[in-house]
């Protein structure tokens, strides 16, 4: 466990309550990215969010991508960092790089 917040348990509770839930997991980091590998965020179609995958820089974009996996029902790897074209929209101000795996709970 990386911290005291039990995101998987929250995701499970939401799923059991009938919510559509997606999970985002930091799988790799470079440089000064704020959250280590293993950090998680859970989101629901209804707009609930728990946990984080950065210092708040990319959560919005990750949440949107995670929710899209609810339709595709397949996991997807996201790259964020200063070399990424999306850096203009949702970059990491710290200059770090991070990979985030998003997937639906099915």
């Amino acid at each position: 466990m990386n911290d005291s917040e039990n995101i998987l348990a929250i995701a499970q509770a939401w799923h059991e309550a009938g919510e559509h839930v997606a999970i985002a997991t930091v799988t790799q980091t470079w440089g000064s990215s704020p959250r280590p590998a293993g950090s998680r965020m859970a989101v629901t179609k209804s707009g609930k969010i728990a946990g984080s995958v950065s210092g708040g820089c990319i959560e919005g974009a990750v949440a949107n991508e995670a929710l899209e996996t609810l339709a595709s029902r397949a996991g997807k790897m996201l790259d964020f960092g200063i070399t990424d074209e999306r850096a203009w929209e949702v970059g990491l101000a710290c200059g770090g790089k991070v990979k985030v795996f998003v997937e639906p709970v099915i």
């Binding site: 466990m1 990386n2 911290d3 005291s4 039990n6 998987l8 348990a9 995701a11 499970q12 799923h15 999970i23 997991t25 799988t27 790799q28 280590p36 590998a37 293993g38 397949a74 996991g75 790897m77 990979k99 795996f101 997937e103 639906p104 709970v105 099915i106």
Partner: protein
């Protein structure tokens, strides 16, 4: 993530079982280890990473794997159900520690004072024999009473606990070290005890002292990994 895997991960955590989640990034296939039939090299790497409490992406057999180590929470054993123990339990919980309080004085160790915390009213040496502190355990003595603190420290010094701390002034600590030296512990052993306990943040109130203790425990837990990275 399949609901069944999610449930299995949460069950392992509830039972304090150390497990790994191995995700093959090429196709998203997930394995719960030990147990699921992953390639042998992945099972081995996951076991090594679990032992080192590491999580990350590794290349195995030409494929990328995300391997997450899910160890049970570290433990904090407090000797003394004293005033400082109350904020200490709360801050330790926020840091992800499971706290156990040991105090044979039943007036102190009450559920009223420590709701939801595991309390043991055994003598500290008996309690530590039962709890068997390991390399993921921190022990702090808080009673100032040699009758309670000393037997705990003697047991703690013979354990692999990653952190030992003892509340008390410099003078109290000096006489404590002298007693333990007379009991046969050498300087290397005694140097493991942080005393006076806590980082020096000029703490005054009980919550501030608790904060200084937890900060020192976090440093003891995390600093070795940073030193290893710096050396690499």
């Amino acid at each position: 993530m399949k609901q069944s895997l999610l449930a299995a991960l949460i069950a392992a955590q509830a039972e304090r079982r150390a497990v790994s989640l191995a995700l093959r990034l090429g196709d998203g296939a997930a394995f719960l280890l030990p147990g699921d039939p992953a390639p042998e090299a992945v099972i081995q790497e996951a076991a090594d990473m679990r032992a080192a409490d590491r999580t990350g992406t590794v290349e195995i057999g030409g494929e990328s794997w995300f391997i997450e180590s899910r160890n049970p929470p570290p433990r904090l054993i407090l000797i003394g159900a004293v005033h400082i123990s109350q904020p200490l339990v709360q801050i330790a919980a926020a840091m992800g520690f499971e706290t156990i309080i040991v105090d044979p004085r039943r007036a102190f160790a009450t559920d009223d004072r420590f709701p939801g915390t595991r309390l043991m009213t055994d003598w500290p040496d008996d309690a530590l024999d039962q709890l068997r502190p390991d390399g993921r355990t921190a022990i702090v003595t808080l009673t100032h009473d040699p009758k309670l603190d000393d037997p705990a420290l003697e047991r703690a010094l013979r354990s692999d606990a990653f952190y030992l701390g003892s509340l008390g002034s410099r003078k109290t600590h000096a006489s404590r070290l002298q007693r333990l030296a007379e009991a046969g512990f050498d300087d290397t052993a005694l140097a493991r005890i942080h005393g006076p306990v806590g980082l020096d943040i000029a703490a005054v109130t009980a919550p501030e002292i608790a904060l200084s203790i937890i900060a020192q425990i976090v440093a003891a837990r995390r600093m070795p990994a940073r030193r290893a990275r710096a050396a690499a």
